[in-house]
C-alpha cells in the first residue's frame, strides 16, 4: 500500500486528493505528492529496501503507486561508477558517474514514466500521451506497450532519426507536428486540456516527477547509505534537479540516512539556459528563451520548475554550468574517452558543466561528487558524427594495415 497521502500546493500548501491534478486552483502553484513520513519511518528500513527488486520499484514505499499496480520494464537501479580517469582529468579526487544511459529505453525518462504510467493506469486512464523531443516519447511508447495501453506521442518534425525510431518500434500513434518549438508547445498544451488522456508531464505530472527521486535514493544506497557532498545535474524543466534532492531529504525523514548537506549544481546549454542565465544575473525570476542548442533533450525555454531550481541553487550553495555546443561535444568525447560511457548531448552538457564548475573552484577537489548522465549517445549520433577520428580504411593485406597504422600514429605524433 502506498504511503502517499495527498497532493499539496508548493506555494499555498492547499491539499488535493490523489487524482489527475497538476496545478493549484487558487494560486496556480504546482502540486506535489506528500507522504505519511511517520509511518514510513516506522515501517521502512535499509534492509526492507535491499530486499526489493533490482529496479526503481525497490523504493516503492516512497512512490505514489501501489506496488501491485507497478508497470515494471526494468527501469532504474543503474550503475554508479567511480570515475577515476575523468576525475583525474578534471582535478576531482572523489568523482562518481551515475550512468542512467542503461535504462530500458536508454534514458532516465523511464523512471518518471514508470511511475506516471503506473499511476495513470491506477486512476483508470487507458491512453498515455506526451509531447517530446525524443526520450520521453520513447519511454511513454515502451511503457504503454508493456502495459497494454494506447500511446499517443507528439514530436517536432526535426528530430534525430534515432529518437523517432526509438518510439516507432513500440507502435504508438506518433504525431509529427509541423511548426517551431513554440507552436508545438502551444498546440500540445491545448490538446492536453481537451483530451481525457494521461499526458504524463501535464495532468499526471505530480506522479511523473516523483520518479526522479529514485536517482537520489539509488545514489545514497550505492554509496553505502549516505548522501553525496555535491551533485551535478542537467536541467531542462528543473524537475530532475529538484527531485534528486527531495529523494535524499525523504530518506533522511524516514531515518534511513543522515540529514543531507548535499550541494546541488545544475548544467544547462547556452542555447537554452533560462535557469543558468537567471542564476548568473542573481535573480529568481527567469526569462523564458527560444531554445537553439544541439542538446534537444534539455531544450525547455520556459521551465516548469525553473523558480524552484533557482531557490535550490541558492539554498544548497550550488553553481550552474552554462556551456556552448562546442563544449557539449567536447564533454561527450571526454566522458567516452575517460570512462567508456557514450552519453547523449545532455551528458555532454553535464560533463562540460562539471569541468566548468571544477575550474571555477565551485566543486572542491575532495568533495564526493556525483554527475548524472541521463541518456545514451546512440540517440544523438548526429551531434558527434563530424567530430570523431575517422576509421582507417585498408586493403586486406598486412602491408596496407602497417602503412595505414603508421600513418595514423604519425598524424597523432605531429598533432
Amino acid at each position: 500500500m502506498s504511503y502517499a497521502t495527498a497532493l499539496r500546493c508548493r506555494e499555498c500548501h492547499r491539499e488535493y486528493p490523489l487524482a489527475a491534478h497538476h496545478v493549484c486552483e487558487f494560486c496556480f502553484g504546482p502540486v506535489e505528492v506528500t507522504y505519511d513520513y511517520d509511518r514510513l519511518r516506522r515501517n521502512v528500513t535499509r534492509e526492507s529496501i535491499e530486499r526489493g527488486p533490482a529496479s526503481l520499484w525497490r523504493y516503492r514505499d516512497f512512490l505514489p503507486v501501489d506496488a501491485d499496480a507497478a508497470i515494471d520494464i526494468g527501469a532504474g537501479y543503474t550503475p554508479l561508477i567511480r570515475a577515476k580517469n575523468l576525475g583525474k582529468a578534471l582535478g576531482l579526487n572523489n568523482l562518481y558517474i551515475k550512468n542512467d544511459t542503461v535504462n530500458p529505453t536508454w534514458s532516465f525518462k523511464d523512471r518518471v514514466v514508470a511511475v506516471a504510467a503506473s499511476r495513470a493506469r491506477e486512476l483508470g486512464f487507458q491512453k498515455l500521451a506526451c509531447a517530446s523531443t525524443g526520450n520521453l516519447a520513447n519511454s511513454v511508447s515502451a511503457h504503454a506497450a508493456a502495459a497494454g495501453m494506447e500511446a499517443v506521442v507528439f514530436i517536432p518534425t526535426n528530430l534525430e532519426l534515432g529518437k523517432v525510431l526509438g518510439s516507432l518500434i513500440y507502435a504508438p500513434t506518433l504525431v509529427k507536428v509541423r511548426g517551431n518549438y513554440d507552436d508545438v508547445n502551444r498546440l500540445c498544451a491545448e490538446l492536453a486540456g481537451q483530451y481525457e488522456w494521461a499526458f504524463v508531464n501535464v495532468n499526471v505530472r505530480p506522479y511523473y516527477s516523483e520518479g526522479s527521486k529514485t536517482l537520489g535514493f539509488e545514489v545514497a544506497e550505492q554509496l553505502g547509505w549516505r548522501a553525496p557532498d555535491h551533485c551535478v545535474v542537467p536541467m531542462a524543466s528543473g524537475s530532475l534537479y529538484v527531485k534528486i534532492r527531495k529523494g535524499l531529504e525523504e530518506l533522511a525523514k524516514a531515518g534511513i540516512i543522515d540529514e543531507p548537506k548535499t550541494r546541488m549544481s545544475g548544467a544547462q546549454a547556452t542555447g537554452c539556459s533560462p535557469i543558468a542565465t537567471a542564476w548568473q544575473e542573481g535573480t529568481l525570476n527567469f526569462r523564458p528563451q527560444k531554445p537553439d542548442t544541439i542538446a534537444k533533450s534539455l531544450a525547455i525555454g520556459n521551465p516548469a520548475d525553473g523558480y524552484y531550481s533557482l531557490v535550490q541553487l541558492r539554498d544548497t550553495n550550488g553553481g550552474c554550468g552554462n556551456v556552448t555546443d562546442e563544449e557539449i561535444i567536447a564533454g561527450m568525447k571526454l566522458l567516452a574517452e575517460t570512462e567508456g560511457i557514450f552519453g547523449e548531448t545532455a551528458g555532454g552538457v553535464t560533463i562540460a558543466s562539471l569541468k566548468q564548475l571544477a575550474e571555477r573552484g565551485t566543486i572542491h577537489p575532495d568533495e564526493l561528487t556525483v554527475a548524472f548522465i541521463t541518456g545514451a549517445g546512440f540517440k544523438t549520433v548526429e551531434a558527434v558524427v563530424d567530430h570523431l577520428q575517422p576509421a582507417l580504411e585498408i586493403d586486406p593485406t598486412i602491408e596496407s594495415f602497417d602503412r595505414a597504422y603508421a600513418a595514423g600514429h604519425l598524424t597523432e605524433a605531429i598533432a
Binding site: H22, V23, C27, F28, P30, K109, C130, A131, S132, T133, G134, N135, L136, F154, P156, Y181, V184, N185, R186, C188, A189, A192, F199, N201, V202, R205, A236, S237, N285, R287, P288, K296, S297, L298, A299, I300, G301, N302, P303, A304, D305, G306, A346, G375
Partner: protein, 80 residues
C-alpha cells in the same frame, strides 16, 4: 464561453504599456489577473481570459504581435 489561462511575459519595452487594459477594450474578453510579478525591466502575469474561444485566440494573437511572450501556465509541455 471558454476560459483560458496563460502566462504573459513582458519585455522591458512594454513594461509601461497598459497591455491588459487595452486588450480588454479591443476584444470582448474578460481579463482576470491571478498572479503577477513585474519590475522595471521585466515582468510576468498569469492571466485568466473568459469569452468566445475565437475572440480569446484573436486577443492573444494581438498581444503576441505587440511583443508579449505567451506560454502555458504550467511551463513548457514539450519535454526531452
Amino acid at each position: 464561453m471558454s476560459v483560458k489561462r496563460v502566462r504573459f511575459t513582458f519585455p522591458e519595452a512594454l513594461i509601461q504599456e497598459p497591455v491588459i487594459y487595452l486588450m480588454g477594450h479591443e476584444f470582448r474578453v474578460i481579463t482576470n489577473v491571478r498572479m503577477a510579478d513585474v519590475d522595471e525591466k521585466t515582468g510576468w502575469v498569469i492571466l485568466e481570459l473568459e469569452g468566445d474561444a475565437d475572440e480569446i485566440d484573436r486577443s492573444l494573437a494581438w498581444a503576441q504581435a505587440k511583443g508579449v511572450r505567451i506560454d502555458p501556465v504550467t511551463g513548457d509541455v514539450v519535454e526531452g
